[in-house]
């Protein structure tokens, strides 16, 4: 048996690998699409609760891999709330009459944002996947009529929220159309799906995504990018705690 396998491998060494880029090449291309030095975006989040759904819009600025600023625009009770992430620290600001800056740490980081299936960690993520994960191409698949590579990611640094992920990457546009996030034990914790994409300049970018926590019964959260601008110049004061109160 082994001999035959070996023989097959020797006879057809290339077709199995030749047309596949390496994992890191794929990650690099994904990062080129998704990771920006800086960007300003307008997003809508639809949270499907057990009783009702809610729609939350926000404007976000991101700079580098670990700085982000989010301002919520609607609904009325969320409007004016802001969130700042600098490095591994997150602050939220609740406007007058509360006028409070609260440092989010430990347990609070794991809380979902506005009741969605996204945690604060999820929502402020702008790391290059390449820096966090080792990638191995496992095969290919067809998803929503798009040809995809199936890539297995395993964490290469300590303390990542998800130890491993599996992504279905569009062969042409290099967007992870589907993603599964796993616990260390390999148990599936969360899935995301990109259901609509758009092109902006050279980049392909998700237009509409769905997040779902796989351990609980929830109906998931939809995330829609209304607009995004990668050429914006973010002023220095934007990424400061003082900006929370402005």
């Amino acid at each position: 048996m082994k001999a035959i396998t070996l023989l097959l491998l020797l006879l057809f060494p290339f077709p199995l690998y030749a047309e596949f880029p390496t994992g890191s090449e794929i990650l690099k291309k994904i990062d080129e699409n998704l990771v920006a030095d800086q960007a300003e975006s307008l997003t809508t989040m639809i949270v499907h609760g057990r009783a009702q759904s809610r729609t939350i819009t926000s404007r976000a600025w991101i700079r580098g891999s670990d700085e982000a600023f989010v301002e919520y625009l609607s609904p009325a009770r969320e409007a004016g709330k802001k969130m700042l992430k600098l490095g591994d620290k997150i602050w939220t600001y609740t406007p007058e009459p509360n006028d409070r800056i609260i440092a989010i740490s430990g347990h609070l980081l794991r809380q979902s944002v506005m009741g969605s299936d996204l945690s604060y960690e999820d929502i402020t993520e702008n790391h290059r996947m390449l820096d966090l994960y080792d990638a191995v191409v496992e095969g290919e698949d067809n998803l929503d009529d798009r040809q995809c590579y199936v890539v297995k990611l395993s964490g290469k640094i300590r303390g990542l929220a998800y130890d491993s992920r599996k992504i279905w990457v569009d062969k042409q546009r290099f967007l992870p159309l589907k993603e599964e996030r796993f616990a260390k034990s390999g148990k599936l914790l969360k899935t995301t799906r990109i259901t609509e994409v758009f092109q902006i300049g050279e980049r392909w970018y998700p237009k509409r995504m769905t997040f779902k926590d796989m351990l609980s019964k929830g109906k998931g959260t939809e995330y829609i990018i209304e607009s995004i601008d990668f050429n914006v110049k973010i002023p220095e004061h934007r990424m400061t705690k003082a900006a929370l109160r402005k």
């Binding site: 949270v47 609760g49 057990r50 009783a51 009702q52 809610r54 009770r77 969320e78 709330k81 939220t92 609740t94 009459p97 509360n98 006028d99 409070r100 800056i101 609260i102 440092a103 609070l108 809380q111 979902s112 944002v113 506005m114 009741g115 969605s116 109160r245």
Partner: protein, 424 residues
């Protein structure tokens, strides 16, 4: 005849004042005992009724399955319609919405950033509506250690122990960080108006009490509540009526098989207090029965003795020609009068003391080192309907019975002998 008897009673304090006082004292103790035991019975359920179960409780079906997790995403909605409906269908009961929640209470420094924080269990009740019954029901005024009750929106109370541990002062800003009913992060500022002590270990570690309107706003629960509690008048749990109310209410919503449809349970449905109440009732019955029996023996003794001490007088009356039956009748008549007077006096006094104990109670916190405390430390009596007549069983019944028995000897003795007893 009656006037004669009454005059005789009034003119001879040995015949009237003393027996009436003894009977009165006995009756008073009986009434007090009865009311006190009822108060103790109530104390057992009151804490859980007031804090948790109500006499009846309405939640959504889904919430009722896991109330311990305080799943406010499963809260009752439309309470603005539901509560008036309940008042319409059952006006003699008090219906109050409440919200239970968990969270962090965070005290900022002067830059508005976190200085100290700690976990709290929150209870939102109607604190501010004029005429709200909740403040009194929870005895919040009595439980205040520092500060005062919330008087306007945005003011809260926390456990004294919690405030002490965090080292926070009155009138400081306290920010509640919690989850909205939809799961988002809720941040809401309050002013710490006062601190309370509950006398229940777990609650003293970190409880927050806020006005329900504030919390509805903070947790995005407009027109919603975790639960609606129903209370009978005077906190008097009436099992039969509670069951009736439950059947009636649940029948209305029976056909809606929605997990968000409201369901009513009674205090007895909650296995803890329910079983406990049955148990306590059994013991109370035994206790009161034995007490009344014993008190009857005491007062029967009194009746017996007041008959015996008057053998001399009876001898004279027989000697001057009164018939034995007439003397016996007069004796019983007097016993009736003293028994009645004593019972009325005793019941009156007993009710008076019981009323005091019901309204004010005995503050045993002095015996417990700590000063102000909410629940178990103010012991209260409770005037049940039985209190108005129970004293008459030993007071009137036993006294008359005692006379009846001691009077029999009138018939068995010779006039001459009774007369002799007068002489000696």
């Amino acid at each position: 005849m009656i006037r004669f008897l009454v005059k005789g009673l009034l003119r001879d304090p040995n015949r009237s004042v003393f027996p009436v006082l003894i009977v009165g004292a006995g009756v008073m103790i009986t009434v007090l005992f009865y009311c006190w035991v009822l108060g103790v019975r109530e104390d057992i359920t009151r804490t859980s009724a007031v804090l948790d179960t109500g006499h009846v409780k309405i939640t959504t079906k889904a919430y009722g399955e896991i109330p311990g997790q305080m799943p406010n995403d499963l809260a009752l909605s439309g309470i603005g319609r539901l509560v008036p409906e309940l008042f319409r269908d059952c006006p003699e009961m008090d219906w109050v919405p409440r919200i239970k929640f968990g969270g962090l209470l965070d005290f900022p420094d002067d830059k508005g950033e976190t200085r100290v924080q700690g976990p709290v269990l929150g209870m939102a009740v109607d604190l501010l509506t004029p005429g709200s019954t909740e403040v009194r029901r929870l005895n919040l005024a009595g439980a205040i250690v520092r500060g005062r009750l919330p008087e306007k929106p945005g003011e809260i109370l926390v456990s004294e122990e919690f405030a002490e541990k965090l080292g926070v002062d009155l009138y400081e800003t306290a920010t509640l960080i919690s989850a909205t009913a939809t799961g988002g992060m809720a941040v809401q500022n309050f002013i710490l108006a006062g601190t309370v002590r509950f006398g229940i270990g777990v609650m003293d570690k970190g409880t927050l009490i806020a006005d329900i309107t504030d919390i509805q706003y903070a947790l995005d629960m407009a027109d919603s509540a975790s639960e609606i509690l129903g209370f009978f008048p005077d906190m008097n749990f009436d099992e039969v009526r509670a069951l009736g109310e439950k059947t009636r209410f649940n029948a209305v919503y029976e056909n809606i098989r929605d997990e968000f449809s409201p369901v009513m349970t009674t205090l007895k449905d909650q296995s803890g207090p329910g079983e406990y109440l049955d148990w306590v009732d059994r013991w109370i019955f035994i206790f009161i029965f034995v007490f009344i029996l014993v008190m009857s023996i005491v007062l029967w003794n009194t009746g017996l003795m007041s008959g015996i001490r008057r053998y001399g007088e009876i001898g004279v009356r027989l000697a001057i020609g009164e018939s034995k039956g007439h003397v016996y009748q007069a004796l019983i008549g007097e016993a009736l009068a003293t028994g009645m007077a004593g019972s009325i006096l005793g019941t009156f006094l007993g009710l008076g003391f019981s009323y005091y104990l019901q309204e004010v109670g005995i503050d045993i916190s002095g015996m417990l080192q700590s000063a102000a405390i909410l629940f178990p430390n103010i012991l209260k009596a409770k005037i049940g309907s039985g209190a108005f007549y129970i004293g008459f069983i030993p007071g009137l019944g036993a006294t008359v019975l005692g006379s009846l028995v001691s009077g029999i000897s009138i018939f068995s003795r010779e006039t001459s002998q009774l007369f002799k007893e007068l002489e000696t």
